[in-house]
């Protein structure tokens, strides 16, 4: 049958030399289950091969930064939960650090230990979710459920600790909202044992699986230069061979007292980006074990205040979340409300090289790349 040829839209040139094929566009998302939220990718395809991929954003823009201008600093903390909700403790931490820096509040030792333990638990839970999604998106539904199952135990700890499972609002300038319950340490110990066992299972179930390896090795390679140029951070950067981790390179809180490694991989492909998450869980467990031994007695918060007034000026604090560097930039004028707050979200920068990464791969590989970039759309749009 004769193929009906349609002219390409203005400005587009046919790339492939084959006259029997036709290039076409397809919208992946915004309601596609594999794009992890409302991300819309416009794909230019030749057959099943991706020629171009352009992400379109803004489907879940809530104006959090603008909203922040009409809320006090204390009230703003709970809004950051809703950016990257898988790492909400870490976002809270970044805001609190900026306020502490500006007002000059110290944080008691016990509070720092509680913070770090909670942060590392949060990191593990986020990485477990990434593991689950990675398996699920590549067709291993069992992995999806296993990832969530282990994460549930950690979520339950948070539930007991601060009363919420996702939007914690637990950090306060100068410490944390309430002391840890008596059962906390025992439960963390149990989680460590559980997660270590689960990681072995994961290795048997997914990491060693030939199908998974074939689908992820060499897919979506991000070179070291590109990773730096696009401002990628976190696991995405480290999988491309740059050992940069704020916890080591610009230590905040008590990370300089703790002994842990920064796992780095060299290939920058999807498989490396996956494996690095598993390695990081192991390092987080090491941190947790040290914290359990060292946690001192004492107050969990320095003197409480109903509102914080920052001296005029601008302040920046950054934390290494499970996804990358989350920074909070506060411009303060007089009063208890910020003049402007900007958040540097890791997911936005991590998503930006996707056009380069999926070029020349199949549609199914786009899914692999998205899931190993470990992006979360509400954090991109804010």
């Amino acid at each position: 049958m004769e193929m009906v040829k349609r002219p390409l839209p203005a400005g587009f040139q046919k790339v492939s030399g084959d006259d029997n094929t036709e290039e076409y566009f397809i919208n992946m998302g915004p309601q596609h289950p594999a794009t992890h939220g409302v991300l819309r990718l416009v794909l230019r395809l030749d057959g099943e091969t991706v020629r171009e991929c352009v992400p379109h954003l803004g489907y879940i823009h809530r104006g959090i930064e603008k909203q922040a201008e009409s809320e006090t600093y204390l009230q703003y903390v709970h809004l950051t939960d809703r950016m990257d909700y898988l790492t909400s403790h870490m976002n809270n931490h970044s805001v609190c650090m900026a306020i502490e820096k500006a007002v000059g509040i110290g944080v008691p030792d016990r509070a720092e230990y509680i913070r770090v333990m909670v942060l590392e638990l949060n990191r593990i839970s986020s990485h477990l979710m990434m593991f689950g999604c990675f398996g699920g998106d590549l067709g291993a539904q069992t992995a999806l459920l296993y990832g969530f199952k282990e994460r549930e135990v950690i979520t339950d700890i948070f539930d007991e600790l601060c009363g919420a499972r996702l939007t914690m609002n637990y950090f306060r300038p100068g410490g944390v909202a309430n002391d840890i319950p008596d059962t906390f340490i025992a439960r963390v110990k149990k989680v460590i044992v559980d997660v270590e066992r689960t990681l072995e299972e994961f290795d048997r179930l997914i990491t060693g699986n030939v199908i998974i390896q074939e689908r992820s090795r060499g897919i979506g390679i991000l070179t070291r230069e590109d990773a730096i140029a696009y401002g990628c951070t976190g696991c995405v950067l480290r999988a491309s061979g740059v050992p940069y981790d704020l916890r080591k390179d610009d230590p905040y809180s008590i990370y300089d007292r703790l002994d842990f490694d920064v796992p780095t991989k060299q290939n920058g492909d999807s498989f490396d980006r996956y494996v690095i998450h598993i390695d990081e869980i192991r390092q987080s467990i090491r941190i947790l074990q040290q914290c359990i031994e060292q946690i001192p007695e004492g107050p969990y918060r320095s003197k409480e205040k109903p509102s914080y007034r920052l001296p005029a000026g601008s302040y920046y604090a950054a934390t290494e979340t499970a996804k990358g560097i989350f920074g909070t930039y506060v411009v303060a004028e007089k009063g208890d409300k910020p003049w402007r707050i900007h958040s540097r979200s890791p997911n936005f920068a991590n998503l930006s090289p996707i056009g380069k990464m999926v070029k020349g791969h199949m549609i199914a590989d786009v899914v692999t790349v998205i899931t190993t970039l470990d992006i979360l759309i509400p954090d991109i749009d804010r």
Binding site: G163, N169, R204, P306
Partner: protein, 153 residues
């Protein structure tokens, strides 16, 4: 010469793939014999036995004692602490001309359950309750009045 090599790798990959699958299956099979690691909550069947952590933030409540009194003085600190105007404290005057709490309005559809109001209250008059089934089929009915009677007990 090329054909056997391709066949060889193809064969190898197939066998390895099948082995990997079986290895993975052994993990899943293990769960059949270890039901102790099952975490699933059979909600809503287990509604009666469902236990939440006491700290769970489900809704703002104002506990009343056996006489039907509450501790709220109508100081409006919680109203000021709330990020999204969920709480309105409407005060009135009692017979002695003293300012007392009239109505404590709590709009649950607006609440983000952040818990800042609880922290702000100096009299421990409001708490976070465990109730979480707030779904309704109609829009009205979300404005709750938390105090049972006017004034402070």
């Amino acid at each position: 010469m090329a054909a056997p090599v391709i066949l060889d790798t193809y064969f190898k990959r197939t066998v390895l793939g099948a082995l990997g699958l079986l290895k993975g299956m052994s993990v899943t099979l293990g769960y059949f014999f270890r039901p102790s690691r099952i975490l699933t909550e059979q909600y809503p069947e287990n509604r009666k036995t469902l236990k939440l952590h006491p700290a769970f933030r489900g809704e703002v409540i104002m506990p009343h004692d056996e006489n039907g009194d509450h501790k709220c003085t109508g100081c409006t600190l919680c109203e000021k602490a709330c990020p999204n105007a969920t709480i309105s404290v409407l005060n009135t005057k009692n017979i002695a001309g003293k300012k007392v709490l009239g109505k404590y309005i709590y709009r649950i559809d607006q609440c983000t359950l952040c818990g800042l109001c609880i922290e702000a209250c100096p009299f421990d008059a409001i708490h976070m309750g465990n109730g979480f089934e707030h779904a309704r089929t109609q829009r009205d009915g979300f404005d709750l009045i938390l105090n049972k009677k006017e004034g402070r007990g």
